[in-house]
């Protein structure tokens, strides 16, 4: 019966399996509640097995105590983090190439941030400049466009560098990778849904890619929490306005898996963003418009509905004036 439900979804391309994005843990919304809701709606069989991806927890991967303990006997962790370590041990050439590409991406990121900080500072100061309104408006618009161009170029370059690596090294064809992927597929058998937990976004995203990216998730309901929600979007944006070492500006990190369309997921928004600062909020929303910058705090949930989204209680997005407005915006 469990397999037949999955087949039913796959047989009907018009009806995509449920996709649920959650804010960080807490806020009175447990994973069990979400699973029960999917069971009640018929998307999952009662008591269905669930595959978990907890690679974002790194060395704490597969720590059952961190997933909802009431689901412990139904959850099988795919252990992508531990498997990637095994691949690195078995395939030194791939591991070396991966380190090299990581170093290239680090250099690129440093250069991007250097330019980004300059452009954001210019945009900030232009907003404070007093003078002819029509002249300044055009200059501010142009400053924003420059940030958007830089974001877009950076994303292109990240994808390009990664694609070069994948073309050159062809990870899916390498024996160490194939062996681990086979084991993952075996573990996935019988699992009706996949939960992506949060944690370190870079580790999570790179492990997901190593194990097939969105293909790994195809055909099953997917629940993504926090970083697990971010990786499902089209574009991963890192952010923290006031980290302990000073001020920070949101930065484009990488392309996500592109399953969750039309939004930028911002978990821990209230803790990490200076939401009272309208100018910052406006700039953030405008940088990634028309995608919605969705604020995901503990307890928040949004569900894919056709080509749009249903927002749970209290879910908001930033509009291009920097205001918090309900998400999705009522028609």
């Amino acid at each position: 019966m469990r397999v037949s439900r999955r087949r039913r979804a796959a047989d009907n391309p018009g009806s995509r399996p449920p996709l649920v994005l959650l804010g960080p843990r807490g806020g009175g919304l447990a994973l069990l509640d979400v699973v029960r809701g999917l069971e009640a709606g018929g998307a999952l069989s009662p008591g269905a097995r669930i595959a978990a991806i907890t690679a974002g927890w790194r060395d704490r991967e597969a720590n059952e105590g961190l997933i909802d303990p009431r689901l412990a006997d139904r959850v099988v962790d795919l252990e992508l983090y531990r498997r990637s370590d095994r691949i690195a041990e078995a395939d030194a050439e791939l591991a070396r190439a991966h380190r090299e590409v990581r170093d290239r991406l680090k250099s690129l990121r440093r250069a991007y941030n250097l330019r980004l900080h300059g452009l954001i500072e210019a945009h900030r100061r232009l907003a404070e400049l007093r003078g002819d309104a029509s002249v300044l408006r055009a200059e501010r618009d142009e400053a924003l466009k420059a940030i958007r161009r830089l974001d877009a170029r950076h994303l292109d370059r990240v994808v390009e560098i990664r694609s070069e690596f994948e073309r050159h090294m062809t990870p899916p064809e390498r024996e160490a990778v194939r062996r681990q992927r086979r084991e993952v597929q075996t573990r996935l058998e019988g699992a009706e849904a996949i939960v992506l937990e949060g944690g370190h976004i870079g580790n999570l995203l790179s492990r997901l890619r190593l194990f097939g990216g969105r293909k790994l998730l195809d055909g099953r309901p997917v629940i993504g929490r926090s970083a697990g929600a971010m990786v499902l979007t089209e574009r991963v944006v890192l952010f923290h306005d006031q980290p302990p070492w000073g001020e920070g500006h949101p930065e484009v990190f990488d392309a996500g898996l592109g399953i969750a369309e039309g939004l930028v997921a911002l978990p821990h928004a209230s803790a990490r963003l200076a939401l009272d600062d309208r100018m910052r909020g406006a700039r953030l929303a405008a940088r990634f418009s028309p995608a919605s910058c969705v604020l995901l705090d503990p307890g928040h949930r949004i569900d894919r509905a056709g080509h749009g989204w249903n927002g749970g209680d209290g879910v908001e997005r930033l509009d291009t004036a920097g205001r918090r407005v309900p998400f999705p915006t009522a028609a």
């Binding site: 974002g56 927890w57 949060g198 970083a227 980290p243 302990p244 070492w245 821990h268």
Partner: protein, 386 residues
């Protein structure tokens, strides 16, 4: 002299009852009804009750008289002294009681706040706006790192030196870690809660998991005062031993030195003597004495320090890529630390300089650890969304 409204009210009450038969002890009632030092920001009144010939406030706030006389309220054994403190100040003090020809320095019996240091403990007054940082408070759980105790053989000192090494929770031998070497490491753990702070900041992803070597000095005043032998020990004996025993990242950006007071001098000196070895410096209230003219008059222990600082100020050289420097504005070393900043920058360092309304003490150094460590060694917080 600032006047406390509450003390004035008490004095009025005392004056009005003189000769009367008020059964209530106004002083006792006053003490029972208030917390001390009595806070009426920006005024803080220190109070002592007892028989004495004189009572004084003893503190180490540079710029104020370090010995301030209390005033006895007429007809009582209550002594008080009112001090104006800017918001966010934190001041350690003792009360000196003079009686029968003897002077005794005591902790304030009416104030529960204490700060410990290698010499014992002081009472603490916390002005409006000061709070013990949440990451430094007891109570919040964090996964705990482990401590190894090493005996590091040293040809330089012709003996084995004791070094404690902090390994973070979830330490894995197949990972590589940044290294921080901490002067007076034992005191940092004991009086600034360093181990606890590391656990917390790592747990919050604000600093990376790191290996932290805690030094226990022998002859501290000699070894930490720009002693070439100590610098050699750190760079040529301790570092190779740690590299052998622990999986460390190899680049200077992943290696730091830290210390307070003379420990900051020792950190600075080791980096200066061995350029390119340590890319990160955390220097707190360093005794960076120098002379613009004339000779050192701070005692022979500072001769080498003054020579070093005079030479460095004349011709700064690159000693670290990043340096975090902090100092309390109430300590006498504030000018020396301020003067260090432009020299470090001329030497090519990216410097963050933080002043606090505090003194030359361990809790001041504790309170700056989050900002300093996370700036020198940013953790994965930016990448972590749990």
């Amino acid at each position: 002299m600032p006047r406390s409204t509450a003390i004035a009210a008490l004095e009025e009450r005392l004056a009005s009852r003189s000769g009367g038969a008020d059964p209530v002890d106004p002083v006792g009632a006053f003490l029972a009804a208030n917390e001390f030092p009595l806070a009426e920001p920006p005024l803080y009144t220190f109070v002592y009750r007892g028989q004495a010939d004189a009572v004084r406030l003893r503190h180490w706030v540079h710029g104020l008289q370090t010995s301030a006389p209390f005033r006895r309220l007429e007809g009582t054994d209550l002594w008080c002294y009112t001090l104006e403190l800017p918001d966010e100040s934190r001041v350690e003090y003792k009360i000196e009681v003079l009686a029968g020809g003897r002077a005794e320095w005591i902790e304030d019996p009416l104030n529960p706040h204490r700060a410990r240091d290698p010499f014992g403990a002081n009472s603490v007054v916390q002005a409006r706006g000061y709070e013990i940082p949440d990451w430094a408070r007891e109570g919040e759980e964090a996964r705990r790192g482990e401590m190894d105790e090493l005996a590091v053989e040293s040809d330089v000192f012709e003996s084995a030196r004791h070094v404690s090494v902090y390994r973070p929770a979830d330490f894995r031998a197949n990972r590589r870690y940044p290294l921080l070497i901490v002067h007076d490491g034992g005191d940092y753990v004991e009086y600034a809660g360093l181990r606890h702070v590391l656990d917390r900041l790592i747990d919050r992803f604000e600093i990376p998991r790191m290996i932290v070597a805690l030094l226990h000095p022998g002859d501290r005043m000699s070894e930490y005062s720009a002693d070439p032998a100590h610098a050699r020990f750190v760079a040529e004996e301790l570092l190779p031993r740690l590299e052998r025993d622990y999986p460390l990242l190899p680049d200077p950006a992943s290696r730091g030195l830290m210390g307070a007071s003379l420990g900051a001098v020792a950190s600075f000196h080791a980096a200066l003597e061995h350029p390119g070895r340590f890319g990160r410096l955390l220097l707190q209230s360093g005794s960076f004495l120098f002379t613009d003219i004339g000779a050192n008059e701070s005692g022979p222990v500072f001769d080498r320090v003054v020579d070093m600082m005079n030479a460095y100020r004349a011709a700064p050289t690159p000693i670290a890529e990043k340096a975090f420097v902090s100092v309390g504005v109430y300590e006498p070393l504030v000018s020396e630390n301020r003067a260090l900043i432009p020299a470090l920058r001329r030497g090519g360092a990216d410097v963050r300089f933080v002043e606090s309304r505090d003194g030359h003490n361990w809790e001041n150094w504790r309170d700056r650890l989050r900002e300093g460590l996370s700036w020198l060694f940013p953790g994965p917080l930016w990448m972590v969304y749990e």
